[in-house]
């Protein structure tokens, strides 16, 4: 199916698919996190996305800002740790950027994601190469923007973003962590994928699955 816009139904399906993916990969995320963090990333993401899907299902939203902000607040209040404020801020800022609309074109959705990432950066103070979720999301958004600017439809943009996120995720393996609990390990944090970059890649996997299925 080729589509040129992302509807609220797409967003809801995207969140549901993200929940499925973090649930499937819960023990993998936890394993990555026990290597360099505190072994709770899988459980935290599953708890948060369960709460999100329940919340979104309970009261269907009529506008993108309302929907995305409610997702953000639910993550902030249910996840805790570092992932709660970071993923929560991503969706809260996406909501602010999206505004009270029922659908977003590729450029508007990209702008919303970019606003979300800017919020994550403001909150977490991460830069490229710090071995964080930024290292997956930033290249994914660059790829999304380039695809949309080149006239690609949503499915092609999502698939380009996913490929870039995967590459960004894989690039975190040799890096020394400079943020979060992993940074206490210094050189011992190399040789492991970053759990946050890995779960963020699932966000783009979920998006690609949603808009191409």
């Amino acid at each position: 199916m080729s589509t040129s816009t992302i509807s609220l139904d797409h967003v809801v399906a995207w969140l549901a698919r993200f929940r499925e993916l973090v649930t499937e990969q819960q023990s993998y995320l936890t394993e990555l996190d026990s290597a360099i963090g505190d072994a709770d990333h899988g459980a935290n993401m599953v708890r948060g996305m369960n709460a999100v899907v329940e919340k979104v299902g309970a009261a269907p939203a009529t506008a993108a800002d309302e929907l995305l902000k409610s997702v953000g607040m639910t993550l902030v209040t249910s996840v805790g740790g570092a992932a709660g404020p970071l993923y929560g801020t991503l969706f809260l800022r996406m909501g602010v950027s999206a505004g009270p609309v029922a659908e977003l074109d590729g450029a508007a959705f990209g702008a919303a994601l970019r606003a979300g990432l800017d919020g994550v950066v403001a909150r977490g103070k991460a830069e490229a190469g710090d071995k964080t979720m930024f290292d997956a999301i930033n290249p994914a958004l660059d790829a999304w923007d380039a695809a949309v600017a080149g006239g690609a439809d949503i499915a092609a943009a999502a698939s380009a973003a996913l490929a870039a996120a995967e590459k960004g995720r894989d690039s975190t393996e040799p890096l020394v962590a400079r943020k979060g609990r992993a940074s206490y390990l210094g050189e011992r944090s190399t040789g492991h994928l970053d759990p946050g970059a890995t779960s963020s890649t699932l966000l783009f996997q979920a998006l690609a699955d949603t808009v191409t299925s």
Binding site: A39, D40, T77, G80, G81, A82, R123, G124, S183
Partner: protein, 332 residues
């Protein structure tokens, strides 16, 4: 895992119920998981709120009461509480004079408290200031890490700043004092054994019987290095030396805390205190006050930490002021 629990899932709720049952002078909000003083904050008094993951008791709930905190937000074991809990505590504890958030420097705690402060200010206009405590010298390269962790100094800071707030100092003064205390103290810890998080069911890290971890964090984070177990005098030196090489503690009175990590008996803490006191005397540090006991723990970890605070006259006076909490009580 051998623990005095009902189920791993109910540890926090059951512990909060116990605090509620044991302390009529406290008020426990079981929904938001906040411990308050039973009496509302006196009008004009700055409210002090702290919080963090559970498993460090008596920190923070045990320090709610006259002369210390007004409220403490409890997260799951070793997991930061969420901004809605902190926002609720901020709203309830504020008397109109503003609120100081006392935050230990961990990425999750810092971000959740930041969000809570923004949300509380946006919603109710309450003035929120914050202090991020970062005293653990075990984390060396702070430019390329999340920075020094917040550990033992948090206890001394909550006592001293709590007394200032009780005295009626305003939010700006209380906050400035909190920064001064944070800038004047350092800590270093060690572990003989790992802790076991109830939900995990097994020790957080493996430490062979004949080894110890020097520079361990209060969540079982790795320290500076591991080595063969040694006698108390050598361990004391390994804790005191990095603190003294990080900051000059001579020429001013000092408050010293010998803190147990939860699984170490008091008799060993006194042996360690004695060794630490001898080293400090030899180094020309004048210790005028001390605490020996379990004040900021890491569940059942065996081990200890040393905190040294270079105290000025005002800090000492505030240290001596009356305090009446479950975890610290004198002068009342």
């Amino acid at each position: 895992m051998k623990k005095l629990i009902n189920t791993p899932e109910s540890v926090l709720a059951d512990a909060l119920a116990g605090i509620d049952a044991a302390h009529p002078e406290l008020k426990v909000d079981h929904v938001n998981r906040v411990i308050y003083r039973a009496e509302p904050t006196r009008a004009g008094k700055v409210a002090l709120i702290s919080g963090g993951g559970s498993g460090h008791e008596p920190l923070h709930g045990g320090f709610v009461g006259f002369g210390m905190l007004d409220a403490a937000c409890a997260g799951e074991v070793f997991t930061s509480p969420t901004p809605d809990q902190m926002q609720e505590a901020t709203k309830v504890a504020d008397s109109g004079a503003g609120v100081l958030h006392i935050v230990k420097n961990y990425t999750g705690d810092v971000m959740n408290f930041e969000m809570a402060a923004e949300m509380a200010e946006a919603e109710t206009g309450v003035k929120v200031a914050s202090i991020v405590v970062n005293d653990d010298v075990a984390v060396q390269d702070s430019l390329f890490t999340a920075g020094r962790r917040g550990v033992g100094l948090t206890v001394l800071l909550e006592k001293i700043v709590g007394a200032a707030a009780e005295e009626g100092q305003d939010l700006a003064a209380v906050t400035a004092l909190a920064h001064r205390v944070n800038d004047s103290g350092r800590s270093m810890g060690m572990a003989l054994t790992s802790c076991t998080v109830p939900a995990a069911g097994k020790p957080t890290f493996d430490l062979p019987d004949d080894m110890m971890e020097i520079g361990v964090g209060i969540h079982g984070e790795p320290g500076r290095h591991r080595e063969k177990l040694a006698d108390a005098a050598s361990i004391a030196k390994q804790l005191v030396d990095p603190i003294l090489s990080d900051m000059d503690f001579t020429g001013s009175p000092a408050i010293v805390m010998m803190n147990g990590m939860g699984g170490t008996p008091q008799i060993e803490l006194y042996i360690m205190y004695n060794e630490v006191a001898k080293l400090l005397e030899a180094a020309g540090v004048q210790v005028v006050r001390n605490l020996v006991g379990d004040y900021i723990t890491s569940l059942d970890m065996a081990g200890c930490s040393v905190t040294i605070l270079k105290a000025d006259e005002e800090m000492l006076k505030l240290w001596d002021a009356p305090v009446n909490t479950a975890g610290l009580r004198w002068g009342v």
